[in-house]
Protein backbone atom coordinates (compact mmCIF):
# COMPACT_ATOMS: atom_id res chain seq x y z
CA UNK A 1 0.00 0.00 0.00
CA UNK A 2 2.78 2.29 0.97
CA UNK A 3 4.60 1.39 -2.22
CA UNK A 4 1.59 2.35 -4.22
CA UNK A 5 1.49 5.80 -2.66
CA UNK A 6 5.21 6.14 -3.22
CA UNK A 7 4.70 5.24 -6.82
CA UNK A 8 1.93 7.76 -7.18
CA UNK A 9 4.05 10.43 -5.59
CA UNK A 10 6.93 9.74 -7.95
CA UNK A 11 4.58 9.85 -10.90
CA UNK A 12 3.19 13.20 -9.86
CA UNK A 13 6.73 14.46 -9.45
CA UNK A 14 7.43 13.47 -13.01
CA UNK A 15 4.79 15.92 -14.14
CA UNK A 16 7.30 18.65 -13.49
CA UNK A 17 10.09 16.90 -15.38
CA UNK A 18 11.22 19.17 -18.22
CA UNK A 19 11.34 16.32 -20.72
CA UNK A 20 7.79 15.35 -19.84
CA UNK A 21 6.65 18.92 -20.24
CA UNK A 22 8.50 19.32 -23.51
CA UNK A 23 6.99 16.12 -24.89
CA UNK A 24 3.54 17.20 -23.74
CA UNK A 25 3.82 20.53 -25.40
CA UNK A 26 5.03 18.90 -28.57
CA UNK A 27 2.09 16.52 -28.58
CA UNK A 28 -0.35 19.37 -28.16
CA UNK A 29 1.38 21.45 -30.79
CA UNK A 30 1.57 18.67 -33.39
CA UNK A 31 -1.92 17.33 -32.89
CA UNK A 32 -3.42 20.78 -32.43
CA UNK A 33 -2.00 21.99 -35.70
CA UNK A 34 -3.11 18.78 -37.37
CA UNK A 35 -6.63 19.45 -36.13
CA UNK A 36 -6.51 23.01 -37.43
CA UNK A 37 -5.37 21.83 -40.84
CA UNK A 38 -8.06 19.22 -40.88
CA UNK A 39 -10.68 21.78 -39.86
CA UNK A 40 -9.60 24.09 -42.66
CA UNK A 41 -10.58 21.51 -45.21
CA UNK A 42 -13.03 19.43 -43.25
CA UNK A 43 -15.43 22.06 -41.92
CA UNK A 44 -16.24 23.75 -45.24
CA UNK A 45 -16.49 20.39 -46.98
CA UNK A 46 -18.66 18.96 -44.22
CA UNK A 47 -20.96 21.95 -44.31
CA UNK A 48 -21.27 21.69 -48.07
CA UNK A 49 -22.10 18.01 -47.98
CA UNK A 50 -24.46 18.51 -45.06
CA UNK A 51 -26.38 21.26 -46.76
CA UNK A 52 -26.74 19.99 -50.25
CA UNK A 53 -28.67 17.06 -51.53
CA UNK A 54 -26.97 15.53 -54.48
CA UNK A 55 -26.91 12.23 -56.27
CA UNK A 56 -24.38 9.96 -54.68
CA UNK A 57 -24.59 11.76 -51.36
CA UNK A 58 -25.15 8.50 -49.54
CA UNK A 59 -22.18 7.00 -51.26
CA UNK A 60 -19.92 9.88 -50.35
CA UNK A 61 -21.04 9.76 -46.74
CA UNK A 62 -20.46 6.03 -46.65
CA UNK A 63 -16.92 6.46 -47.91
CA UNK A 64 -16.06 8.97 -45.21
CA UNK A 65 -17.65 6.81 -42.57
CA UNK A 66 -15.55 3.89 -43.72
CA UNK A 67 -12.37 5.99 -43.59
CA UNK A 68 -13.13 6.69 -39.94
CA UNK A 69 -11.64 3.36 -39.05
CA UNK A 70 -8.32 3.51 -40.88
CA UNK A 71 -5.78 1.57 -38.84
CA UNK A 72 -3.16 4.15 -37.95
CA UNK A 73 -0.32 1.73 -38.53
CA UNK A 74 -1.50 1.13 -42.07
CA UNK A 75 -1.75 4.84 -42.74
CA UNK A 76 1.64 5.35 -41.10
CA UNK A 77 3.20 2.79 -43.36
CA UNK A 78 1.71 4.33 -46.50
CA UNK A 79 2.86 7.79 -45.48
CA UNK A 80 6.33 6.50 -44.69
CA UNK A 81 6.60 5.04 -48.16
CA UNK A 82 5.42 8.28 -49.71
CA UNK A 83 7.66 10.63 -47.74
CA UNK A 84 10.71 8.37 -47.68
CA UNK A 85 13.58 9.69 -49.74
CA UNK A 86 12.86 7.05 -52.32
CA UNK A 87 9.17 7.87 -52.30
CA UNK A 88 7.55 10.34 -54.62
CA UNK A 89 7.32 13.09 -52.00
CA UNK A 90 10.79 12.34 -50.70
CA UNK A 91 12.23 15.46 -52.23
CA UNK A 92 10.36 17.52 -49.64
CA UNK A 93 12.75 16.13 -47.04
CA UNK A 94 9.92 15.97 -44.52
CA UNK A 95 10.48 12.49 -43.14
CA UNK A 96 11.26 12.40 -39.41
CA UNK A 97 10.03 15.93 -38.84
CA UNK A 98 7.08 17.07 -36.73
CA UNK A 99 5.64 18.59 -39.90
CA UNK A 100 5.08 15.24 -41.55
CA UNK A 101 3.40 13.91 -38.39
CA UNK A 102 1.10 16.90 -38.57
CA UNK A 103 0.16 16.09 -42.15
CA UNK A 104 -0.23 12.42 -41.37
CA UNK A 105 -2.50 13.06 -38.41
CA UNK A 106 -4.46 15.61 -40.40
CA UNK A 107 -5.10 12.99 -43.06
CA UNK A 108 -6.10 10.55 -40.36
CA UNK A 109 -8.65 12.82 -38.74
CA UNK A 110 -10.12 14.64 -41.73
CA UNK A 111 -12.66 11.88 -42.45
CA UNK A 112 -13.72 12.13 -38.80
CA UNK A 113 -14.01 15.90 -39.06
CA UNK A 114 -16.09 15.70 -42.21
CA UNK A 115 -18.38 12.97 -40.91
CA UNK A 116 -19.04 14.74 -37.65
CA UNK A 117 -19.58 18.12 -39.28
CA UNK A 118 -22.01 16.63 -41.79
CA UNK A 119 -23.84 15.03 -38.90
CA UNK A 120 -23.89 18.27 -36.94
CA UNK A 121 -25.32 20.22 -39.85
CA UNK A 122 -27.87 17.57 -40.69
CA UNK A 123 -28.97 17.35 -37.06
CA UNK A 124 -30.12 20.91 -37.03
CA UNK A 125 -33.90 21.14 -36.86
CA UNK A 126 -34.98 21.34 -40.49
CA UNK A 127 -37.47 24.00 -39.55
CA UNK A 128 -34.68 26.40 -38.65
CA UNK A 129 -34.00 27.24 -42.26
CA UNK A 130 -37.64 27.99 -43.00
CA UNK A 131 -37.89 29.87 -39.73
CA UNK A 132 -35.05 32.14 -40.76
CA UNK A 133 -36.57 32.64 -44.21
CA UNK A 134 -39.98 33.49 -42.88
CA UNK A 135 -38.41 36.06 -40.57
CA UNK A 136 -37.01 37.76 -43.63
CA UNK A 137 -33.69 36.05 -44.21
CA UNK A 138 -32.26 35.63 -47.70
CA UNK A 139 -31.06 32.17 -48.65
CA UNK A 140 -27.52 33.02 -47.53
CA UNK A 141 -28.65 34.49 -44.25
CA UNK A 142 -30.77 31.41 -43.65
CA UNK A 143 -27.76 29.17 -44.24
CA UNK A 144 -25.81 31.18 -41.69
CA UNK A 145 -28.61 30.74 -39.19
CA UNK A 146 -28.51 26.97 -39.69
CA UNK A 147 -24.74 26.99 -39.27
CA UNK A 148 -25.05 28.89 -36.03
CA UNK A 149 -27.35 26.22 -34.71
CA UNK A 150 -24.80 23.57 -35.53
CA UNK A 151 -21.82 25.13 -33.77
CA UNK A 152 -22.13 22.76 -30.85
CA UNK A 153 -21.76 19.81 -33.16
CA UNK A 154 -18.87 21.41 -34.98
CA UNK A 155 -17.11 22.13 -31.71
CA UNK A 156 -17.56 18.52 -30.74
CA UNK A 157 -16.08 17.49 -34.09
CA UNK A 158 -13.05 19.65 -33.45
CA UNK A 159 -12.47 18.21 -30.01
CA UNK A 160 -13.02 14.61 -31.09
CA UNK A 161 -10.51 15.04 -33.87
CA UNK A 162 -7.94 16.56 -31.55
CA UNK A 163 -8.35 13.73 -29.06
CA UNK A 164 -7.99 11.17 -31.81
CA UNK A 165 -4.86 12.83 -33.17
CA UNK A 166 -3.09 13.28 -29.86
CA UNK A 167 -3.80 9.70 -28.85
CA UNK A 168 -2.70 7.96 -32.01
CA UNK A 169 0.58 6.09 -32.28
CA UNK A 170 0.85 4.44 -35.68
CA UNK A 171 1.36 7.56 -37.78
CA UNK A 172 3.62 9.37 -35.33
CA UNK A 173 5.96 6.48 -34.97
CA UNK A 174 6.10 5.50 -38.63
CA UNK A 175 6.85 8.90 -40.11
CA UNK A 176 8.27 10.63 -37.07
CA UNK A 177 10.92 8.14 -36.11
CA UNK A 178 10.43 8.90 -32.42
CA UNK A 179 13.50 11.11 -32.38
CA UNK A 180 14.39 12.49 -28.99
CA UNK A 181 13.82 16.20 -28.80
CA UNK A 182 12.30 16.38 -32.25
CA UNK A 183 9.48 14.02 -33.04
CA UNK A 184 8.96 12.24 -29.78
CA UNK A 185 5.42 12.76 -28.57
CA UNK A 186 3.46 11.36 -25.65
CA UNK A 187 2.24 8.24 -27.39
CA UNK A 188 5.55 7.31 -28.97
CA UNK A 189 7.32 7.91 -25.68
CA UNK A 190 4.96 5.60 -23.87
CA UNK A 191 5.54 2.92 -26.48
CA UNK A 192 9.29 3.28 -26.21
CA UNK A 193 9.54 3.48 -22.45
CA UNK A 194 7.24 0.56 -21.86
CA UNK A 195 9.45 -1.56 -24.06
CA UNK A 196 12.43 -0.31 -22.11
CA UNK A 197 10.80 -1.27 -18.88
CA UNK A 198 10.44 2.28 -17.58
CA UNK A 199 6.99 1.67 -16.22
CA UNK A 200 6.68 4.63 -13.88
CA UNK A 201 7.79 7.04 -16.54
CA UNK A 202 5.34 5.52 -18.97
CA UNK A 203 2.52 5.81 -16.47
CA UNK A 204 3.34 9.47 -15.93
CA UNK A 205 3.19 10.05 -19.68
CA UNK A 206 -0.03 8.10 -20.01
CA UNK A 207 -1.55 10.06 -17.16
CA UNK A 208 -0.54 13.30 -18.86
CA UNK A 209 -2.15 12.17 -22.08
CA UNK A 210 -5.37 11.20 -20.34
CA UNK A 211 -5.38 14.49 -18.49
CA UNK A 212 -5.18 16.45 -21.71
CA UNK A 213 -7.93 14.46 -23.36
CA UNK A 214 -10.19 14.84 -20.33
CA UNK A 215 -9.45 18.52 -19.89
CA UNK A 216 -10.20 19.32 -23.50
CA UNK A 217 -13.42 17.31 -23.50
CA UNK A 218 -14.50 18.85 -20.21
CA UNK A 219 -13.80 22.36 -21.44
CA UNK A 220 -15.99 21.84 -24.48
CA UNK A 221 -18.78 20.40 -22.41
CA UNK A 222 -18.70 23.32 -20.00
CA UNK A 223 -18.88 25.86 -22.78
CA UNK A 224 -21.77 24.04 -24.36
CA UNK A 225 -23.51 23.49 -21.06
CA UNK A 226 -26.45 25.58 -21.98
CA UNK A 227 -27.77 22.76 -24.05
CA UNK A 228 -30.59 21.00 -22.16
Amino acid sequence: MWELLEGVRRIIELFGNPVVLETTFRSIYVSGTATLLSALLGIPLGVLIGFKDFTGKHFVKAIFNALLGIPTVALGLILYLVFSHSGFLGFLDLLYTPIVIMFGQAILITPIMISLVVHAVESVDPDVRDLARTLGASETEASIAVLRESTAGVALAFVSCFNRAIAELGVAIAVGGNIRGLTRVLTTTIALEVMRGEIEYSIAMAAMLLLIVFAVTLAINLIQRRRP
Partner: protein
Protein backbone atom coordinates in the same frame (compact mmCIF):
# COMPACT_ATOMS: atom_id res chain seq x y z
CA UNK B 1 -58.76 46.29 -55.31
CA UNK B 2 -59.89 45.36 -51.96
CA UNK B 3 -58.33 42.00 -51.70
CA UNK B 4 -54.89 41.86 -50.26
CA UNK B 5 -53.92 38.28 -50.96
CA UNK B 6 -55.31 36.39 -53.89
CA UNK B 7 -54.71 32.77 -54.75
CA UNK B 8 -55.72 31.75 -58.22
CA UNK B 9 -55.80 28.19 -59.39
CA UNK B 10 -53.13 27.36 -56.85
CA UNK B 11 -51.88 23.80 -57.04
CA UNK B 12 -49.02 22.21 -55.14
CA UNK B 13 -47.72 18.72 -55.73
CA UNK B 14 -44.79 16.98 -54.17
CA UNK B 15 -43.58 13.42 -54.16
CA UNK B 16 -46.64 12.30 -56.03
CA UNK B 17 -49.07 13.85 -53.55
CA UNK B 18 -51.34 16.70 -54.53
CA UNK B 19 -51.43 18.83 -51.41
CA UNK B 20 -53.39 21.73 -52.93
CA UNK B 21 -55.73 21.34 -55.85
CA UNK B 22 -56.79 24.38 -57.80
CA UNK B 23 -57.36 26.61 -54.81
CA UNK B 24 -59.01 29.97 -55.34
CA UNK B 25 -59.04 32.22 -52.33
CA UNK B 26 -59.23 35.94 -51.62
CA UNK B 27 -58.32 37.57 -48.36
CA UNK B 28 -59.21 41.18 -47.74
CA UNK B 29 -56.89 43.61 -46.06
CA UNK B 30 -56.97 43.38 -42.24
CA UNK B 31 -59.33 40.47 -42.45
CA UNK B 32 -59.00 37.49 -40.17
CA UNK B 33 -59.43 34.22 -41.99
CA UNK B 34 -59.45 30.83 -40.30
CA UNK B 35 -58.84 27.77 -42.38
CA UNK B 36 -60.20 24.61 -40.87
CA UNK B 37 -59.77 21.09 -42.01
CA UNK B 38 -58.61 17.67 -40.93
CA UNK B 39 -54.96 16.61 -40.78
CA UNK B 40 -53.46 16.23 -44.18
CA UNK B 41 -55.99 18.49 -45.84
CA UNK B 42 -53.24 20.88 -46.92
CA UNK B 43 -53.64 23.64 -44.34
CA UNK B 44 -49.93 23.94 -43.64
CA UNK B 45 -49.08 23.82 -47.33
CA UNK B 46 -51.56 26.58 -47.98
CA UNK B 47 -49.99 28.78 -45.35
CA UNK B 48 -46.49 28.06 -46.60
CA UNK B 49 -47.59 29.18 -50.07
CA UNK B 50 -48.89 32.41 -48.62
CA UNK B 51 -45.66 32.83 -46.68
CA UNK B 52 -43.76 32.51 -49.97
CA UNK B 53 -41.70 29.70 -48.52
CA UNK B 54 -42.48 27.26 -51.29
CA UNK B 55 -43.18 27.66 -54.97
CA UNK B 56 -46.53 26.58 -56.37
CA UNK B 57 -46.64 23.81 -58.93
CA UNK B 58 -49.31 25.72 -60.83
CA UNK B 59 -51.41 28.81 -60.36
CA UNK B 60 -50.64 32.35 -59.20
CA UNK B 61 -50.41 34.21 -55.96
CA UNK B 62 -51.05 37.93 -55.85
CA UNK B 63 -49.92 40.00 -52.95
CA UNK B 64 -51.26 43.52 -52.90
CA UNK B 65 -51.91 43.23 -56.61
CA UNK B 66 -48.35 42.14 -57.38
CA UNK B 67 -47.85 38.68 -58.78
CA UNK B 68 -45.33 36.62 -56.88
CA UNK B 69 -42.64 35.11 -59.04
CA UNK B 70 -39.04 33.99 -58.67
CA UNK B 71 -37.74 37.54 -58.87
CA UNK B 72 -39.64 39.05 -56.01
CA UNK B 73 -40.37 36.04 -53.83
CA UNK B 74 -37.39 36.53 -51.52
CA UNK B 75 -38.13 40.18 -51.12
CA UNK B 76 -41.83 39.65 -50.52
CA UNK B 77 -41.03 37.36 -47.65
CA UNK B 78 -40.16 40.38 -45.61
CA UNK B 79 -43.74 41.54 -45.84
CA UNK B 80 -45.23 38.47 -44.23
CA UNK B 81 -44.26 36.03 -41.56
CA UNK B 82 -45.44 32.64 -40.44
CA UNK B 83 -45.59 30.98 -37.04
CA UNK B 84 -45.16 27.25 -37.40
CA UNK B 85 -47.26 24.62 -35.73
CA UNK B 86 -44.22 22.98 -34.22
CA UNK B 87 -42.37 25.65 -32.30
CA UNK B 88 -39.04 26.42 -33.92
CA UNK B 89 -36.53 28.36 -31.90
CA UNK B 90 -32.92 29.35 -32.25
CA UNK B 91 -30.84 27.82 -29.50
CA UNK B 92 -30.06 31.08 -27.76
CA UNK B 93 -31.71 33.67 -25.52
CA UNK B 94 -35.25 34.92 -25.86
CA UNK B 95 -33.83 38.31 -26.76
CA UNK B 96 -31.76 36.98 -29.64
CA UNK B 97 -34.65 34.97 -30.98
CA UNK B 98 -36.97 37.92 -31.15
CA UNK B 99 -34.24 40.27 -32.31
CA UNK B 100 -33.33 38.06 -35.26
CA UNK B 101 -35.86 39.43 -37.70
CA UNK B 102 -35.35 42.98 -36.49
CA UNK B 103 -31.62 42.72 -36.95
CA UNK B 104 -32.14 41.45 -40.49
CA UNK B 105 -34.15 44.59 -41.11
CA UNK B 106 -31.29 46.63 -39.73
CA UNK B 107 -33.12 48.26 -36.86
CA UNK B 108 -31.09 50.18 -34.32
CA UNK B 109 -30.11 48.48 -31.08
CA UNK B 110 -32.21 50.82 -29.04
CA UNK B 111 -35.26 50.29 -31.18
CA UNK B 112 -34.81 46.55 -30.94
CA UNK B 113 -34.55 46.69 -27.17
CA UNK B 114 -37.71 48.69 -26.90
CA UNK B 115 -39.72 46.60 -29.29
CA UNK B 116 -38.72 43.43 -27.52
CA UNK B 117 -39.73 44.80 -24.17
CA UNK B 118 -43.06 45.84 -25.63
CA UNK B 119 -43.79 42.57 -27.30
CA UNK B 120 -42.85 40.52 -24.26
CA UNK B 121 -45.39 42.56 -22.39
CA UNK B 122 -48.00 41.71 -24.98
CA UNK B 123 -47.46 37.98 -24.53
CA UNK B 124 -47.12 38.37 -20.76
CA UNK B 125 -43.49 37.28 -20.57
CA UNK B 126 -41.95 40.47 -19.23
CA UNK B 127 -38.34 40.18 -18.13
CA UNK B 128 -37.65 37.01 -20.07
CA UNK B 129 -35.02 38.57 -22.30
CA UNK B 130 -32.00 36.72 -21.01
CA UNK B 131 -33.59 33.32 -20.60
CA UNK B 132 -32.55 30.41 -22.79
CA UNK B 133 -35.46 29.48 -25.02
CA UNK B 134 -34.79 25.78 -24.87
CA UNK B 135 -35.40 25.82 -21.16
CA UNK B 136 -38.86 27.34 -21.31
CA UNK B 137 -42.12 25.44 -21.05
CA UNK B 138 -44.03 24.55 -24.20
CA UNK B 139 -46.55 27.29 -23.69
CA UNK B 140 -43.88 29.90 -23.08
CA UNK B 141 -41.99 28.79 -26.18
CA UNK B 142 -45.10 29.15 -28.28
CA UNK B 143 -45.60 32.67 -26.95
CA UNK B 144 -42.02 33.57 -27.78
CA UNK B 145 -42.55 32.24 -31.29
CA UNK B 146 -45.56 34.45 -31.63
CA UNK B 147 -43.80 37.45 -30.12
CA UNK B 148 -41.00 36.96 -32.59
CA UNK B 149 -43.43 37.13 -35.47
CA UNK B 150 -45.58 39.94 -34.12
CA UNK B 151 -42.68 42.21 -33.45
CA UNK B 152 -41.92 42.40 -37.13
CA UNK B 153 -45.23 44.12 -37.74
CA UNK B 154 -45.63 42.55 -41.13
CA UNK B 155 -48.69 43.30 -43.21
CA UNK B 156 -49.61 39.65 -43.35
CA UNK B 157 -49.43 37.25 -40.42
CA UNK B 158 -49.85 33.52 -40.85
CA UNK B 159 -50.38 31.21 -37.88
CA UNK B 160 -50.43 27.45 -38.15
CA UNK B 161 -52.53 26.00 -35.31
CA UNK B 162 -51.40 28.68 -32.87
CA UNK B 163 -53.27 27.33 -29.88
CA UNK B 164 -53.22 23.60 -30.47
CA UNK B 165 -51.74 21.72 -27.50
CA UNK B 166 -51.95 24.72 -25.26
CA UNK B 167 -53.67 24.95 -21.94
CA UNK B 168 -56.54 27.46 -21.83
CA UNK B 169 -54.49 30.13 -20.10
CA UNK B 170 -51.74 30.17 -22.71
CA UNK B 171 -54.26 29.83 -25.49
CA UNK B 172 -56.20 32.88 -24.41
CA UNK B 173 -53.05 35.00 -24.05
CA UNK B 174 -52.22 34.17 -27.63
CA UNK B 175 -55.69 34.83 -28.91
CA UNK B 176 -55.69 38.18 -27.15
CA UNK B 177 -52.38 39.13 -28.67
CA UNK B 178 -53.55 38.22 -32.14
CA UNK B 179 -56.77 40.16 -31.76
CA UNK B 180 -54.95 43.22 -30.49
CA UNK B 181 -52.47 43.20 -33.32
CA UNK B 182 -55.27 43.03 -35.83
CA UNK B 183 -57.09 45.85 -34.12
CA UNK B 184 -54.19 48.20 -33.67
CA UNK B 185 -52.18 47.58 -36.82
CA UNK B 186 -54.78 46.28 -39.24
CA UNK B 187 -52.67 43.21 -39.77
CA UNK B 188 -54.21 40.70 -42.14
CA UNK B 189 -54.28 37.37 -40.38
CA UNK B 190 -54.72 33.85 -41.66
CA UNK B 191 -54.78 31.02 -39.16
CA UNK B 192 -55.48 27.34 -39.29
CA UNK B 193 -57.10 25.32 -36.60
CA UNK B 194 -58.96 22.20 -35.61
CA UNK B 195 -60.54 23.77 -32.66
CA UNK B 196 -63.69 25.74 -33.14
CA UNK B 197 -64.64 25.82 -29.54
CA UNK B 198 -63.42 29.22 -28.63
CA UNK B 199 -65.15 31.35 -26.13
CA UNK B 200 -64.25 34.49 -27.99
CA UNK B 201 -64.52 33.94 -31.62
CA UNK B 202 -62.21 36.30 -33.32
CA UNK B 203 -62.49 35.09 -36.83
CA UNK B 204 -64.67 36.71 -39.37
CA UNK B 205 -64.19 34.40 -42.25
CA UNK B 206 -63.85 30.64 -42.28
CA UNK B 207 -62.69 28.40 -45.10
CA UNK B 208 -63.04 24.67 -45.03
CA UNK B 209 -60.18 22.85 -46.69
CA UNK B 210 -60.74 19.21 -47.54
CA UNK B 211 -58.16 17.15 -49.40
CA UNK B 212 -56.49 20.18 -50.91
CA UNK B 213 -59.65 21.84 -52.10
CA UNK B 214 -61.64 24.66 -50.65
CA UNK B 215 -64.94 22.99 -49.91
CA UNK B 216 -66.70 25.97 -48.41
CA UNK B 217 -65.99 29.54 -47.53
CA UNK B 218 -68.03 32.12 -45.72
CA UNK B 219 -68.64 33.69 -42.34
CA UNK B 220 -68.53 31.48 -39.30
CA UNK B 221 -72.25 31.45 -38.79
CA UNK B 222 -72.83 30.61 -42.42
CA UNK B 223 -70.50 27.66 -42.35
CA UNK B 224 -71.58 26.22 -39.06
CA UNK B 225 -75.13 27.09 -39.53
CA UNK B 226 -75.35 25.12 -42.75
CA UNK B 227 -73.89 22.16 -40.88
CA UNK B 228 -73.27 20.73 -44.28
CA UNK B 229 -72.16 17.21 -45.03
CA UNK B 230 -68.63 18.49 -45.68
CA UNK B 231 -68.33 20.03 -42.31
CA UNK B 232 -69.96 17.16 -40.58
CA UNK B 233 -67.65 14.62 -42.16
CA UNK B 234 -64.66 16.50 -40.83
CA UNK B 235 -65.88 18.08 -37.69
CA UNK B 236 -68.48 15.65 -36.56
CA UNK B 237 -70.44 18.53 -35.26
CA UNK B 238 -73.46 17.56 -33.39
CA UNK B 239 -76.23 19.55 -31.79
CA UNK B 240 -75.88 22.62 -33.99
CA UNK B 241 -78.81 24.95 -33.83
CA UNK B 242 -79.57 28.32 -35.31
CA UNK B 243 -81.88 30.70 -33.55
CA UNK B 244 -82.52 34.14 -32.10
CA UNK B 245 -80.77 35.10 -28.88
CA UNK B 246 -81.93 37.53 -26.24
CA UNK B 247 -79.73 38.85 -23.49
CA UNK B 248 -81.15 38.53 -20.00
CA UNK B 249 -80.50 40.65 -16.95
CA UNK B 250 -78.35 38.07 -15.25
CA UNK B 251 -75.86 38.20 -18.10
CA UNK B 252 -76.88 35.04 -19.89
CA UNK B 253 -78.66 34.64 -23.19
CA UNK B 254 -81.73 32.69 -24.04
CA UNK B 255 -81.77 31.29 -27.52
CA UNK B 256 -84.94 30.23 -29.28
CA UNK B 257 -84.05 27.54 -31.75
CA UNK B 258 -87.52 26.52 -32.74
CA UNK B 259 -90.02 23.81 -31.83
CA UNK B 260 -90.40 25.28 -28.35
CA UNK B 261 -86.81 24.57 -27.48
CA UNK B 262 -85.04 27.33 -25.62
CA UNK B 263 -81.37 27.01 -24.76
CA UNK B 264 -79.70 28.99 -22.04
CA UNK B 265 -76.15 29.97 -22.81
CA UNK B 266 -73.54 31.64 -20.57
CA UNK B 267 -72.85 34.23 -23.21
CA UNK B 268 -73.90 37.74 -23.95
CA UNK B 269 -75.21 37.68 -27.45
CA UNK B 270 -78.31 38.85 -29.13
CA UNK B 271 -79.72 38.50 -32.58
CA UNK B 272 -79.21 35.65 -34.99
CA UNK B 273 -76.79 33.07 -33.64
CA UNK B 274 -75.70 29.52 -34.23
CA UNK B 275 -74.95 27.44 -31.20
CA UNK B 276 -73.55 24.04 -30.53
CA UNK B 277 -73.51 21.62 -27.62
CA UNK B 278 -71.02 18.76 -27.43
CA UNK B 279 -72.52 15.30 -26.96
CA UNK B 280 -70.12 14.52 -24.11
CA UNK B 281 -71.32 17.57 -22.21
CA UNK B 282 -74.89 16.27 -22.02
CA UNK B 283 -75.99 14.28 -18.97
CA UNK B 284 -78.60 11.63 -19.56
CA UNK B 285 -80.95 10.52 -16.76
CA UNK B 286 -84.17 8.61 -16.22
CA UNK B 287 -85.55 11.16 -13.89
CA UNK B 288 -85.31 14.89 -13.85
CA UNK B 289 -82.22 15.87 -11.92
CA UNK B 290 -82.06 18.76 -9.53
CA UNK B 291 -78.83 20.50 -10.35
CA UNK B 292 -77.18 23.78 -11.14
CA UNK B 293 -77.40 23.10 -14.86
CA UNK B 294 -79.73 25.50 -16.57
CA UNK B 295 -80.80 23.38 -19.48
CA UNK B 296 -83.12 20.43 -18.88
CA UNK B 297 -85.10 18.78 -21.62
CA UNK B 298 -87.34 15.77 -21.65
CA UNK B 299 -87.34 13.52 -24.63
CA UNK B 300 -87.32 10.05 -26.16
CA UNK B 301 -84.45 7.94 -27.44
CA UNK B 302 -84.87 7.53 -31.17
CA UNK B 303 -81.47 6.13 -32.06
CA UNK B 304 -78.64 4.18 -30.46
CA UNK B 305 -75.07 3.79 -31.87
CA UNK B 306 -72.38 1.60 -30.33
CA UNK B 307 -69.08 3.53 -30.36
CA UNK B 308 -67.02 0.93 -28.59
CA UNK B 309 -66.52 2.11 -25.04
CA UNK B 310 -69.17 4.74 -25.38
CA UNK B 311 -72.70 4.87 -26.69
CA UNK B 312 -74.24 7.65 -28.78
CA UNK B 313 -77.88 8.36 -28.21
CA UNK B 314 -80.14 10.28 -30.58
CA UNK B 315 -82.74 11.94 -28.39
CA UNK B 316 -85.76 13.88 -29.62
CA UNK B 317 -86.69 16.71 -27.25
CA UNK B 318 -88.50 18.70 -29.90
CA UNK B 319 -85.24 19.23 -31.66
CA UNK B 320 -82.88 16.27 -32.22
CA UNK B 321 -79.97 16.05 -29.77
CA UNK B 322 -77.01 13.71 -29.67
CA UNK B 323 -75.75 12.64 -26.26
CA UNK B 324 -72.79 10.44 -25.41
CA UNK B 325 -72.54 8.17 -22.36
CA UNK B 326 -70.36 5.24 -21.30
CA UNK B 327 -71.43 1.76 -22.14
CA UNK B 328 -71.57 0.92 -18.48
CA UNK B 329 -73.98 3.71 -17.73
CA UNK B 330 -76.02 2.63 -20.70
CA UNK B 331 -76.48 -0.88 -19.39
CA UNK B 332 -76.93 0.18 -15.78
CA UNK B 333 -79.70 2.54 -16.74
CA UNK B 334 -81.21 -0.11 -18.94
CA UNK B 335 -81.90 2.25 -21.80
CA UNK B 336 -83.65 1.27 -24.96
CA UNK B 337 -85.24 2.75 -28.01
CA UNK B 338 -88.21 4.84 -27.01
CA UNK B 339 -86.99 5.09 -23.40
CA UNK B 340 -88.00 8.34 -21.79
CA UNK B 341 -84.97 10.33 -20.71
CA UNK B 342 -83.96 13.73 -19.49
CA UNK B 343 -81.10 15.65 -21.05
CA UNK B 344 -79.26 18.09 -18.83
CA UNK B 345 -76.43 20.44 -19.71
CA UNK B 346 -74.92 23.60 -18.33
CA UNK B 347 -75.28 27.02 -19.85
CA UNK B 348 -71.49 27.16 -20.11
CA UNK B 349 -71.50 24.09 -22.32
CA UNK B 350 -73.21 26.03 -25.06
CA UNK B 351 -70.80 27.30 -27.66
CA UNK B 352 -71.44 29.96 -30.19
CA UNK B 353 -70.12 29.23 -33.65
Amino acid sequence: MNCFVKLQGLTKRYEGVTALDNVNLEVKRSEILTVIGPNGSGKTTLLRMMAFLDKPTAGEIYFDDAEINDNNRNHMRTKCTMVFQKTALFDTTVYNNIAYGLRLRKRSKREIEERIREILGLVRLEGYEKRQTKKLSGGEQQRISLARALTLNTELLLLDEPTANLDPKNASIIEEAIARVNREYNTTIVTTTHNMFQAENITEKVALLLRGKIAEIGTASEIFGKASKNLASFARLENVFSGIARIREDGTSLIEVGDAVQIEAALKKSGKVTVLVRPEDIIVSRKAVNSSARNIFEGKIVGISDMGSTVKLNVDVGKPFVAQITKRSFSEMRLNLNSKVFLTFKASSVYIV
